[in-house]
């Protein structure tokens, strides 16, 4: 009991000391107004980051590459160290991996029973990208803009270019399923849903951007930076990471299944109508 009380007292003292330090240190001064911060969060036209010295890009691009690198490194580590030790009765890590793979594989098989090998792999990657990319903003990694200011790297999909890329690529994947299964008819089926790339892109962009804007707003004012970020930053981010992952992967697998469904031969269709 005494040890518990000592630990509790130490924790309170450290927290108060850090609070006092933060208040006494003060702010270095704002480089931009809240309007400018909000505008830049949407457009990324000011606070750009250099891409390996080649050209300035939106910070979301750097985040996207980092997320991809992290995911691929983790996958390589799992492939080398974990998968060869898989057992028929799974351990905890194996269970998590099998659940993740099985979730997207089953989603692809259920939504697209006729052709699902490729779409399963794609929605697995897209799901991992959206989920990890959305949680990535919680890390608060810093980057230096081309103007020399430090910025926090945002979620990749809060950049409109990343959202458009994912939306259009998903549409192309759906289109490829239509072509592979039904040829020209598949193209027609896919083109009927011409609004799909726009809706998927801007749904992602809007969802992630709204989170980013709220977070920017909360962190802009020091008074809002206590306790509130726990709810805004962690819970909301986690929630919309799950929701956006589910929505995009479900939509892609459903539309893929729809366009790759083999059509009935004309004679049979006529006979059925009669």
């Amino acid at each position: 009991m005494k040890q518990h009380k000592k630990a509790l007292a130490l924790w309170i003292v450290v927290t108060l000391a850090l609070l006092a330090g933060a208040l006494l240190a003060g702010s270095p001064g704002r480089a931009e107004t809240v309007q400018e911060a909000m505008r830049d969060a949407v457009l990324h036209d000011v606070n750009q980051v250099s891409l390996f010295g080649l050209r300035p890009v939106a910070p979301g691009m750097i985040s996207a590459f980092l997320v991809t690198a992290v995911l691929l490194l983790a996958a390589a580590a799992v492939r080398i160290f974990a998968i060869p030790r898989f057992r028929y009765i799974p351990g905890k890590l194996q269970l998590v991996l099998e659940e993740a793979v099985g979730l997207f594989d089953h989603m692809a098989k259920n939504s697209s029973p006729h052709r699902n090998g490729f779409v399963g792999a794609y929605i697995f990657a897209a799901g991992a990208y959206i989920f990890v990319g959305t949680l990535f903003e919680l890390l608060g990694l810093q980057a230096i803009t081309v103007h020399g200011h430090p910025i926090t790297l945002p979620a990749p999909l809060s950049d409109v270019n990343a959202a458009i890329a994912l939306g259009t690529l998903s549409y192309l994947v759906i289109l490829s399923g239509g072509i592979a299964a039904n040829g020209v008819r598949g193209v027609g089926k896919t083109l009927k849903e011409f609004s799909l790339p726009i809706s998927m892109s801007f749904r992602l962009f809007g969802a992630l951007l709204s989170g980013l804007l709220v977070t920017e707003l909360v962190y802009y004012y020091v008074n809002l930076s206590f306790v509130l970020p726990v709810v805004v930053g962690v819970l909301f981010t986690l929630l919309h990471a799950l929701i956006q992952t589910y929505v995009l992967t479900m939509l892609v697998s459903m539309y893929y299944g729809e366009v790759s469904e083999p059509g009935e031969p004309k004679k049979k269709a006529r006979a059925a109508q009669i």
């Binding site: 457009l43 691009m61 691929l72 998968i83 792999a121 697995f124 950049d159 270019n161 890329a165 994912l166």
Partner: protein, 160 residues
């Protein structure tokens, strides 16, 4: 472009997503799926083996039941046959015993008849002999007391 849409950055994102999709497919998705399929096949095979063994056991059980039923039938038939055989044997023995008894009785009756006739003949002969002796003694006037004693002695010898 409105909203700072940049085609070059979109293409870079596409490249990034293509790398990610391919990498995750080869490093994670495919091996994990392959392992899951392998495990499913393993358990399916176990299931098949169990089903085969169950079928074999059921077949053996059916065969054993058939054998038991055949053995029961055979036992029943053997029992019937044995009963018939015993009955037949008993009847034969009974008939033999009756025949033997009949023969014994016949033989005994014949012997008894012979004995009776022989005894009758002996008695008649003895009577005749006694009558002749008595007649002879009466005829030659012998002492009656000596004659009586002689006759008595002869009678004892006869009995012996």
């Amino acid at each position: 472009m409105p909203l700072n849409i940049d085609w070059q950055q979109i293409l870079l994102h596409w490249m990034n997503l293509a790398i990610l999709t391919g990498g995750l497919y080869f490093l994670l998705f495919k091996p994990v799926k392959a392992f899951m399929a392998k495990r499913e096949e393993h358990y399916r095979q176990l299931d098949r083996q169990a089903a085969d063994k169950l079928a074999q056991a059921q077949q053996l059980e059916a065969q054993a039941k058939a054998k038991l039923e055949a053995a029961d039938d055979e036992i029943h038939e053997e029992r019937m046959r044995a009963q018939q055989s015993i009955q037949q044997s008993t009847e034969e023995q009974l008939a033999q015993a009756r025949e033997q008894a009949r023969q014994i009785v016949e033989h005994a009756q014949a012997e008894a008849e012979n004995s009776r006739e022989r005894a009758l003949r002996d008695s008649q002969r003895e009577l005749r002999k006694l009558a002749a002796q008595a007649t002879k003694k009466l005829a030659f006037h012998a002492d009656p007391f000596d004659q009586f004693l002689d006759l008595a002695e002869e009678g004892e010898e006869y009995e012996e």
